[in-house]
């Protein structure tokens, strides 16, 4: 039964040693994942976000059986990843950015055939599967070339095909579009969405937040190995203190307008940044949980000033990550 990937109070500490004189001595272990509970259901893309060192890659390595947790449990469709590692490996696969994990001297077709054998894909199925995957990632014409002659993008596409060779029920994607050109990254995002629509459970980590907002139905935000927040990308973005940003540029500087905007910011307890743009024109940025564009424009127009530029930026996932993973906020 497909119950998804479920972690409960997951913990991972790494043993640490430090040189003391001529000997390396054990010191306090380093916690990389600390009490993380999450669920990756089938048929949707789930995001795992956090700053560098938050524990995203460690989590993915535990889910994929490359690492053994030091506490808590991980199950894949009810199978414990420690006790049933081999069966779990048949159901999952991992795609990492950085185009490693393929053999340079082998052709794309040979690489896929080889990994198909390791995953025990039935012979007849493997013959068709290799062709399908080469088509899917656009490498059919280059299928007989050694991978060492591939461009970076082509190699990454082959890595993606390798990750799909066993028809995984769950796909763990660790920065899969890292270093890819925009069109190829776009194709990959479409592919991920299609896989989820076909029933594959996908866990995605990415530094490209637009990608996460586009693909993920649910996002877990972690910091220092612990869960900080979770929800849909929109829900997470809405949890931040700094929300809408109103930016406007005036045709000429007017002290009365500047004073009015300062008063308005003080009245609403909003953050106001005043500077000039490249053309030397006055520029204002007002940040507040509510969209203050109406009162801002009214205040400017009432004083007879001319607005030459106006943008309103709604709350973003980036704001949420920066705010929610801020050590000061976490301490509160």
């Amino acid at each position: 039964m497909s119950t998804g990937i479920v972690t409960t109070d997951l913990r991972k500490t790494f043993p640490a040693r430090r040189w003391q004189g001529w000997r390396r001595r054990h010191v306090a272990p380093v916690a990389a994942v600390d009490g993380l509970s999450l669920r990756v259901p089938p048929g949707q893309v789930t995001g795992l976000l956090g700053l560098n060192g938050a524990g995203k890659t460690t989590t993915i390595r535990i889910l994929s059986t490359l690492l053994r947790p030091t506490g808590g449990t991980v199950t894949v469709d009810g199978l414990d990843v420690v006790d049933h590692a081999r069966e779990v490996r048949r159901r999952i696969n991992v795609i990492s950015g950085g185009e490693r994990m393929v053999y340079d001297r082998l052709t794309a077709r040979e690489n896929l055939w080889y990994f198909g054998q390791l995953y025990d894909v039935p012979r007849a199925r493997l013959r068709t599967r290799v062709g399908e995957l080469l088509d899917l990632v656009g490498l059919t014409e280059a299928a007989q070339l050694p991978v060492e002659r591939y461009s970076r993008g082509m190699r990454q596409r082959l890595v993606i095909a390798r990750g799909l060779i066993n028809d995984p029920a769950y796909l763990l994607l660790d920065e899969p579009t890292l270093g890819l050109d925009a069109p190829i990254a776009h194709q990959l995002r479409a592919l991920i969405a299609q896989l989820a629509a076909d029933g594959v459970g996908v866990l995605l980590t990415s530094h490209y937040l637009a990608e996460v907002e586009q693909l993920c139905r649910h996002v877990y935000l972690i910091a220092r190995g612990s869960l900080v927040a979770q929800g849909s990308p929109a829900q997470l973005a809405g949890q931040t203190v700094r929300r809408h940003t109103v930016r406007l540029v005036l045709s000429v500087a007017d002290p009365a307008v500047t004073a009015a905007l300062r008063a308005l910011a003080a009245r609403h307890d909003a953050e106001l940044i005043v500077d000039v743009d490249d053309g030397g024109r006055p520029r204002f940025a007002l940040r507040h949980p509510e969209d203050l564009v109406g009162v801002v424009v009214t205040a400017v127009v009432q004083r007879g000033a001319t607005i030459v530029g106006l943008t309103v930026t709604p709350p973003t996932l980036e704001d949420a990550i920066l705010t929610l993973t801020d050590p000061a906020v976490m301490a509160r």
């Binding site: 460690t58 059986t65 490359l66 053994r68 490996r89 490693r100 080889y114 390791l118 995953y119």
Partner: protein, 273 residues
């Protein structure tokens, strides 16, 4: 079991494609062993021509038998050292990132290291093996008790070599300093296993070290079966010891793989030593 066999075959083919891309590879398959054999022969020949040498070791008196003795040594050494090379190459998979892809898969780890070693054996040794057998037949130096001893000799060479390969692969994939072992198992292996000299000519402590290497006993069987008309009864001791070593090497390989992977899972570091 069928999955394990598929893994062995796939790993062997992969390793072949990774390492054998140019016709120049014939150099390492035939010319290099031949050069080494020639160098050895012409190095020891002047010494063997002395009267005292032939008194202690009658083979030394007959250049044809001496060459056969050294060729058997070179052949067996080619088998075993090709596995050292293969294990050294396998260790690069850790650096290139593909080892992680292997550990992600449900493939039997033992099947992987056996397949890797089997590939090295087949691709590195067959040409020189064929050449050595053809040359020995043409020179009429083979002296075999009965045809079944050819099979015994072949098995005594191949099976322990595969176990040796599995053991080395298991050891070196987790090693950062694999070059050290590569060097350690080159010339010293020649020496302690009696590749160039008969074992009785070696000091006792070297003989004791040599006993731990399967190449030593494989050579005893190979030379005895093919050059000295020895039968199963004559070779029972060496064959029995080869079985012990082979089983021991497979068990050690299995333990190393389990311990290595468990440590990798604990520390997150693919480099164990």
């Amino acid at each position: 079991m069928s999955h394990a066999l598929r893994v062995v075959a796939a790993e062997a083919l992969k390793q072949h494609r990774r390492l054998f891309g140019q016709p120049l590879v014939l150099f390492s398959m035939l010319l290099w062993p031949l050069l080494t054999l020639a160098a050895t022969y012409y190095t020891v020949l002047p010494v063997m021509e002395s009267a005292t040498a032939s008194q202690r070791w009658p083979v030394a008196a007959d250049p044809r038998r001496l060459l056969a003795f050294l060729a058997a040594g070179a052949l067996a050494y080619t088998f075993f050292f090709s596995l050292v090379q293969s294990a050294w190459h396998f260790s690069f998979e850790r650096v290139s990132g593909t080892l992680e892809a292997l550990f992600l898969s449900p493939a039997n780890r033992m099947a992987l290291v056996i397949g890797n070693g089997a590939a090295a054996l087949t691709q590195n040794a067959w040409l020189f093996g064929c050449f050595a057998v053809a040359a020995a037949t043409a020179a009429d130096v083979l002296d075999v008790a009965h045809p079944g001893m050819y099979v015994v000799a072949a098995l005594a060479l191949v099976v322990p070599a595969v176990a040796w390969g599995a053991f080395l692969n298991s050891l070196l994939i987790f090693s950062r300093d694999s070059a050290f072992l590569y060097t350690l198992l080159d010339d010293p292996l020649w020496f302690v296993a009696g590749v160039r000299l008969p074992l009785f000519a070696l000091p006792v402590w070297i003989k004791a070290v040599g006993v731990a290497f399967p190449l030593t006993s494989s050579l005893v069987v190979l030379r005895g079966a093919l050059l000295d008309r020895a039968d199963l009864g004559d070779l029972a001791g060496a064959l029995g010891w080869l079985v012990v070593l082979t089983v021991g090497l497979f068990l050690a390989a299995s333990a190393l793989l389990r311990l290595g992977e468990a440590r990798v899972q604990r520390t997150g570091n693919l480099q164990v030593f």
